[in-house]
């Protein structure tokens, strides 16, 4: 430091050599310069020198301090201080070695956005869980309340009844649409309760309904009863209930529903017998409407569900259609009697061979809009069904870096359907993201409508399953 210090004498020498003046002149000049600056500063002025900087006086306030040795408070007097602010040119010249450096903003990026991401990802799962528990609560509530409510419902049931007398086809269709919202999940569940027998159960359900009008009325009436009972709770449930379609993949809820359903049916039959004749008429109208709707529904189902069609095609149909015609002419009171008579056998969902062969070609009654709707529903039904993999198209040995998605692409046409392969091989695949080399994978045979790559609903369903499985691993 010391050797780097230039004294005023050296500056004088340098200036004299540069300006080519005598040292005396430059010395005088420097002294005058400094004295002038001093004077100016002492008079409280600011001195500004071009390309160099600004001299300024700064007043430092008196401040209190403590004597380190005695611990006494002392007052430091205020004083003036000459400050020098370099000109921009001087500043830049001096800072040249570091001029290339610029302030860098450090991104404090990562931790927070990542958290947000995971939150977002968890949200659907959380909502899903909430809905599932909500539905469980509601169902258990309905189940526990149902015996009392059958009676309690008695009067309120007629409040919405005025809607029924409408015979206009379109209004009536609207009405049915509303009803269907409530009814559909309840209809579906019993079938799912018995995955192995579901085919049989479905057929029986259908058969019974179509067999003779009177029994059909009975079943419809029950449905109506169930829906109207639940509708008091379910008016708010209308939103939560569709979520049940998603839930139904797990069988845990179904048994409770199935039992609850049968309890209600039983109650309703007893209840029916005590009903006042005037009310019976309304019930009957309501029942008729629901019956017609079911007719449309099942005819649609029939049209779009090949096994049923094949089954019916092989059976005698003419007799049944005649029964249908005659039964439609039956008077209301007769109808009611038959309804109540038919209730008892209906309660059991056991297959009765005698009643087979019932489905009539109702294609004529099916109207187009209804069938379209029903077709969608049958797809939904298929989604909700518990998938059982029994037949397999092929078996594959996992190659190094093999992935389920690749197999899905090969066999089903879209890699989104890998979930079904995973479902069929759950016992062998601990982690769907990393299937170990050499594992034997069975490729299940799937209904072609379930794995239609052109159908966005199939893709959507597969994605839902994907989320379910992948999240579960996390």
């Amino acid at each position: 430091m010391i050797k780097d210090k230039i004294s005023s004498q050296e500056v004088i020498d340098l200036v004299s050599s540069k300006a080519q003046v005598s040292k005396r002149v430059s010395e005088d000049f420097l002294k005058v310069m400094i004295s002038t600056i001093e004077e100016s500063l002492l008079s409280g002025d600011v001195v500004k020198i071009k390309n160099f900087g600004t001299f300024k006086l700064q007043w430092n306030e008196p401040r209190k301090s403590v004597n380190v040795h005695s611990g006494e408070d002392i007052l430091l007097a205020g004083y003036y201080k000459v400050t020098f602010t370099p000109d921009v040119i001087l500043k830049d010249l001096v800072n040249e070695p570091f001029a290339h450096l610029t302030p860098v903003e450090l991104d404090s990026e990562n931790p927070e956005p990542e958290q947000e991401k995971t939150n977002v990802a968890l949200d659907p799962l959380r909502i899903f869980n909430d809905q599932a528990s909500e539905i469980k609560d509601l169902l258990s509530e309905i189940q526990s309340l149902s015996p009392k409510e059958e009676v309690a419902v008695d009067t309120p049931i007629f409040v919405p009844a005025p809607v029924e007398p409408i015979h206009d086809e379109t209004d009536y269709a609207d009405y049915l649409l509303q009803k269907e919202l409530v009814k559909k999940p309840i209809e579906q569940e019993p079938k799912e309760a018995l995955p192995e027998e579901k085919e049989v159960a479905e057929q029986i359900l259908r058969k019974e309904i179509v067999e003779v009008v009177a029994p059909v009325e009975g079943t419809d009436y029950q449905n109506e009863e169930v829906s109207s009972v639940s509708s008091f709770d379910a008016i708010e449930d209308v939103k939560p209930l569709p979520a049940e379609d998603v839930v139904s993949g797990s069988n845990s809820i179904e048994p409770t529903i199935a039992t609850g359903n049968s309890v209600e049916e039983f109650d309703s039959s007893e209840f029916l017998k005590e009903i006042h004749p005037r009310r019976v008429r309304r019930f009957w109208i309501k029942a008729l409407i629901v019956f017609l709707f079911l007719l449309v529904t099942f005819s649609g189902f029939y049209l779009f569900y090949p096994p049923v069609r094949n089954f019916t095609a092989s059976t005698a149909l003419a007799l049944k259609s005649s029964i249908l015609k005659t039964s439609e002419k039956v008077s209301m009171t007769e109808m009611f009697n038959t309804v109540s008579n038919w209730f008892t056998p209906k309660q059991k969902l056991t297959p009765i061979p005698v009643r087979k062969v019932v489905i009539i070609p109702k294609d004529t009654t099916a109207n187009d809009s209804a069938t379209g709707k029903v077709a969608v529903d049958s797809l939904q039904l298929m989604f909700d069904k518990t998938r059982v993999y029994k037949t397999f198209i092929a078996t594959e040995t996992v190659k190094p870096n093999g992935r389920l998605t690749i197999m899905a692409k090969r066999y089903y046409g879209s890699k989104d359907f890998w979930v079904y392969i995973y479902e069929a091989n759950k016992d062998r695949i601990p982690d769907p993201d990393r299937i170990s080399e050499g594992t034997l994978i069975r490729i299940p045979k799937l209904d072609h409508r379930l794995i239609d790559p052109a159908n966005p609903r199939c893709i959507k369903k597969a994605k839902e399953l994907h989320d379910l499985y992948v999240k579960k691993e996390d």
Partner: protein
């Protein structure tokens, strides 16, 4: 007092034309600048020292946005008044 006033004042004291004084002042300034750029300390007796100080790099956090910024190191000119000047300034009454 700006540059021109300083020159005028000095010219009056030196009995020299302003242009000469201006040239000399210019030369002095460039000389000082060069010396400072060479990282040398210039000491004018009875006035003070000019020296270069290095400000180390530091991390600054914007108080409201919490954006952290790394400020690079830099060299600055610092002037420290001499004790002689300081004594003279002590006589100056404080007036605001």
């Amino acid at each position: 007092m700006n540059h021109k006033e300083l020159i005028a004042s000095m010219a009056a004291k030196l009995n020299a034309p302003k242009s000469v004084v201006a040239d000399l002042l210019d030369t002095t300034v460039t000389t000082c600048t060069e010396l400072l750029v060479e990282n040398k300390t210039i000491g004018f007796q009875s006035f003070g020292n000019f020296e270069i100080r290095k400000k180390e790099e530091r991390l600054s956090v914007h108080p409201s946005t919490q954006v952290r910024t790394l400020i690079p190191p830099k060299l600055v000119v610092n002037f420290k008044q001499s004790n002689i000047l300081k004594e003279k300034l002590k006589d100056l009454p404080h007036h605001d």
